[in-house]
Amino acid sequence: MSGTGVSAREKAQVLDETGLDRALTRIAHEIVEQAGGGEDVVLVGIKTRGVTLAERISVKISTIEGTKPSVGALDITLYRDDLRLKAEQPVVRSTEIPFPIKGRTVVLVDDVLFTGRTIRAAMDALMDLGRPRIIRLAVLVDRGHRELPIRPDYIGKNLPTSRRETVAVLLREHDGVDRVVIQED
């Protein structure tokens, strides 16, 4: 959902570097608080930027709790519900979750929550890998327009948008800069 197309016109900056970092710090604290410590928690990022965010949250939890939760990467392409609607098949990337998720608290991490369809796919993918005790959802931006009954547990920023707009999450590791912007085609 983080369409960073060059043709899109930037309308407004939503988060700068400090704001983005602060949002992730708060999410890390909330995860630790709700889990009663971080020991049982594993983070699974949805490719690509969700993985980067999960890694950052994991580092923050380690500074709070002393132990660093494992971070996995989930590619949901094979679980999409819109494969038939696309002109050509989307690229399948690798899923790398090198630890058991059975009985654990899995926090799914994604950059932008929009229709909820990606999260539906991610939950199906997780269930095929094992039976977590709890699945929770952390997103940096919740932009509304849900099409499925899915609600995040940890939200960096609530951002009401119109459907014509796109939300671009730019991260240092991919884009050389940390910021969140609203764009319009």
Partner: protein, 308 residues
């Protein structure tokens, strides 16, 4: 990524980027094989028909597993005991199968070009699983995947293919694929089993085994195809094995990190000594595992194309 083809008919018409797309997708698919639950819902509601007019266990099973792990319905249609024996033409059979709305038809046939004929006449995707002496593209793709996995790259490698080049569609597909990926290919075998126009494909030709394998990063041994030979190509199997069989003694003069490949089925004691087939150089079983991953990738890419 830009897979736009309806069909996969051969390595000869694939672009380098398309080969890389298939290999990258296959690497992702391979992870599914390591799971406890080996199934993803991607091709739910899609139908794959295996249409095999020639005996095959490995390839047909491999396509079948690939389809099933992607949740497609896979139907096997073998020529023996079927309408083909009752005189129905290939095209009529295919049209009948098409009336049952498959998404992909996987075809093996003794006639070169049979998959191409089907591809032109059917709306669904067609995969060539081996046609006569022409091509066997998924075998070449799984071989490339195995080499890339073991060596980390393809460009600049030296691969020697040994044996019956003339009757081998595996060799032909591999030569096309490897040349496109920047691999130097040497073919070696008795002159009767090497096509005279071979150099036109951009390969080196050698008639001495020791010389051909001395600097190879990969040695691909081919099976002697008795069933395709109408006599006179070799004096005897024992003679062939003595001159062209790969033994541990002969391997001593090769690179220490050489890979031994074989498309199977292996004739132990003919082209490969049992010790070599089971040695640490051998990646024959990796080829089989990667075969499923490559076929998953191909089915995924074709089932999503416009035609399907």
């Amino acid at each position: 990524m830009g897979w736009k083809r309806k069909d996969l008919l051969g390595m000869q018409d694939l672009e380098t980027t398309e080969i890389t797309d298939v290999l990258d997708t296959a690497v992702s698919m391979k992870e599914i094989a390591s799971r406890e639950i080996k199934k993803v819902p991607t091709l739910r509601g899609k139908t794959v028909v295996n249409l095999f007019y020639e005996a095959s266990t490995r390839t047909r099973t491999s396509f079948e597993i690939a389809g099933k792990w992607l949740s497609a319905d896979v139907i096997n249609f073998s020529a023996s005991g079927s309408s083909a024996e009752k005189g129905e033409s290939l095209l009529d059979t295919a049209k009948n199968i098409e009336a049952m709305s498959p998404d992909v038809v996987v075809v093996r046939h003794k006639a070169a070009g049979a998959p191409g004929l089907l591809a032109r006449n059917l709306r669904c995707g067609v995969v060539n699983a081996g046609d006569g002496l022409h091509e066997h593209p998924t075998q070449a793709l799984l071989d490339l995947m195995t080499i890339r996995e073991k060596k980390g790259h393809l460009e600049g490698l030296n691969v020697t293919i040994v044996g019956d080049i003339t009757h081998s569609r595996v060799a032909r597909s591999n030569i096309h694929g490897m040349r496109k990926m920047g691999i130097t290919v040497t073919v070696a075998g008795p002159p009767t089993l090497i096509p005279p126009q071979c150099q036109e494909l951009g390969v080196k030709v050698s008639h001495r085994l020791e010389e051909a394998i001395a600097h190879a990063d990969v040695i691909m041994m081919l099976r002697l195809q008795h069933e395709r030979m109408q006599g006179g190509f070799i004096p005897s199997i024992r003679e062939y094995s003595r001159v062209w069989g790969l033994t541990l003694t002969r391997l001593q003069h090769c690179r220490p990190d050489v890979l031994i490949m074989h498309p199977g089925p292996v004739n132990r004691g003919v082209e490969l000594s049992p010790e070599v087939a089971d040695s640490r150089y051998s990646v024959i079983l990796d080829q089989v595992s990667n075969g499923v991953a490559v076929r998953m990738a191909v089915l995924y890419l074709l089932a999503g194309s416009k035609g399907a």
